[in-house]
Symmetry: C2
Subunit: 389 residues, 2 copies
């Protein structure tokens, strides 16, 4: 895997992509992306937001992928098409139909993703010409143009490639880290020229996202539109071992997830919270999330304050197995809390850098998990209070 | 109940109180408070933080109140005595012993509360002389001095009195609203001259706090020290009907809870989130809390942005009974979301005032609940990042 590779989704054989400007975004940037799987295989899998208030494209795309086949993904920024009722669903349907017509495929094989403001109808008079332009612009090297077109508040485009033994995986993502998940729905498109069945892709994707995207946690605000879709063309003719493919896919997802965290504009720290010696992986994850969601902890890190009391307070709200007077907490490798009480001097902790590691030792077992988040800053408040007004 | 009454806990007959300066606080303000129940009855009840990382005084006081009797409450600001290990527990014990000795009572009837920074030992050489001074300063009108001494970041002291038929209830509280619960542990002392048993007081207190203090919700950050204690002297000789007493106590707790919310310095809006037509009260509370804990929603309100999409996103993360396409949301009485989609114009919503009401209609039953919170502001980030460094 090479994060510096300039392309993503069109590196695997069998894919074309494009990114064009339909005029949906006030910024005037490109805003419609298209990814087409030319096969020979067109197997696919996807995971979606668990938010019950899901956007129209999520409802549509769940159906599209339910048979394990996706021929094309059409994506737009500049409008989430969420909370838009029957008209919104109709607009997603129309977008898929238009894409299918231009490509000569079935609309039921066209996956749709949208991102932008909730509660507004998409301007179809702009979007539909954009769909035609995207089809006309399809290119074997179009991955980067597509990655550009799905940006919203992202300061940079996010792509990744994993070159494995005889096959490759490519990916693109959008979402400005954990700073503003509400305006930065996470959309991820993954491609591979490996030859894998839909069920195998589904297994691999769920295993990969569970320990990567699902563990980047801001404020527990789940978007209405979050979507990760994986398509396989089979063009390499290589049928990889499923475990090996899952490891490669997980590495690529982790690279993209780190790009999301790092691009949290306004955030001043990237925080990795690792819970060790937990009785179960669930416990480790629960404890990490509780700390990651503590505004008090997140503002302390912004203030370069190694306030371990706020870590313990957050841990204490969980039902994980531990004894309060046995907890150890290290921040940037300094064990400032030992056995639930005062440990090494807090003056030893240097929080001037961007990377922060927190390690919580539950002394209750052998499982561990890492949750990634950012600090809570003035910029977070500014960006999220100024968005739609 | 009259929120403007200048006194609180010493209005009911049978109580003396004091507030003195021991030198625990950098500000130099008073920092030790004492409340003594002179009887004839000395029945009591208390509720404590559910945080498993509880401070030494919480562990001590749980034991003190377990027999339904409390003779005195000694409180200090300037140090939470949390995460302080065996030495910290010893310091709480010593504080109770010293108080008991000066009052000529048993240490096992002395309830202890502390508030301030976590993870530092109390300066006992200052605190213990303060205890003696507090005993010496006890006064029939000492309630206000006590309410002053428990302030930390509170910009005003918080007292309340309820005058009922033949008896009264008094209260004092500290905690700067939901702005900074970590540095503003909620401590509440309630007194009454009604004649009620420990178990009846316990019932009444749990019912009252469940719908008042427990429903003021900031960021889910529970303090290690939160405590509410209720003492009855029986000095009025009136034995009120338990239901009537519970109603009166609930009203007084609600008044104090509103004072906490209103004193969230830096917060620019007080937000009441009412969920109606829920299938159960639990559902209504769960939905309200999910919205109250959404940083995206809270920053939107700070920005005077009636962003109902963020309300729906938060509701969608819960397991409450509802259909996404049936949800109605009103902000300040304007129904801007109807049937899960676009309702009346957002331009009709005026968020320039401090009070904000959000009503979420689940259309799933007949139950309702209100959660109170504040917005998320630059001041929140500032206060909480600058506290301990």
């Amino acid at each position: 895997m090479n994060p510096g590779t300039p392309q993503g989704i069109t590196v695997p054989a069998g894919f074309r992509a494009s990114g064009v400007t339909a005029g949906l975004k006030a910024s005037g940037g490109s805003d419609v992306a298209l990814v087409v799987n030319d096969g020979p295989s067109k197997q696919a899998a996807a995971v979606f937001t668990s938010n019950r208030v899901a956007a129209a494209p999520v409802h549509w795309s769940r159906q599209v992928v339910s048979d394990g086949r996706v021929d094309a993904v059409i994506l737009n920024s500049g409008g989430a098409n969420a909370c838009t009722g029957a008209q919104g669903f109709g607009n997603t349907h129309t977008t898929a139909e238009k894409t299918a017509e231009a490509l000569g495929i079935s609309a039921t094989d066209v996956f749709v993703c949208s991102t932008g403001l909730i509660g507004e109808q998409l301007p179809m008079e702009k979007l539909l010409p954009g769909v035609n332009a995207a089809v006309a612009g399809l290119d074997d090297d179009g991955g980067t143009a597509a990655a550009e077109a799905i940006r919203t508040t992202d300061s940079v485009r996010k792509e990744s490639v994993a070159v494995e033994d005889g096959y490759t995986i490519g990916g693109m993502a959008k979402g400005a880290g954990m700073l503003a998940p509400g305006l930065a729905t996470m959309l991820v498109v993954l491609t591979t020229d490996a030859d894998l069945s839909g069920p195998d892709l589904d297994d691999a994707l769920r295993n990969a996202t569970r320990v990567t995207f699902d563990r980047t946690d801001a404020d527990g605000c789940m978007s209405t539109n979050d979507t990760v879709v994986l398509m396989a063309s089979g063009a390499s003719t290589v049928k990889p071992d499923k475990a090996q493919f899952t490891r490669a896919l997980t590495g690529l997802c982790q690279d993209l997830a780190q790009q999301l965290i790092t691009d949290a504009e306004g955030a001043s720290h990237d925080i990795a919270i690792t819970t060790v010696n937990a009785a179960s992986e669930d416990d480790a994850e629960t404890v990490g999330r509780a700390v990651a969601r503590s505004n008090l902890f997140k503002t302390a890190i912004f203030g370069q304050d190694p306030n371990w009391g706020r870590v313990l307070s957050a841990v204490g709200t969980t039902d994980a197995a531990f004894e309060p007077d046995e907890l150890n907490v290290s921040i940037n490798s300094v064990q400032i809390c030992r056995n639930g009480g005062i440990g090494d001097s807090r003056d030893l902790v240097d929080l001037s850098g961007r990377k922060v590691t927190v390690e919580i030792d539950l002394k209750a077992g052998n499982e561990s998990a890492t949750i990634w988040t950012n600090d809570l800053t003035h910029e977070y408040v500014h960006e999220n209070s100024a968005y739609s007004s």
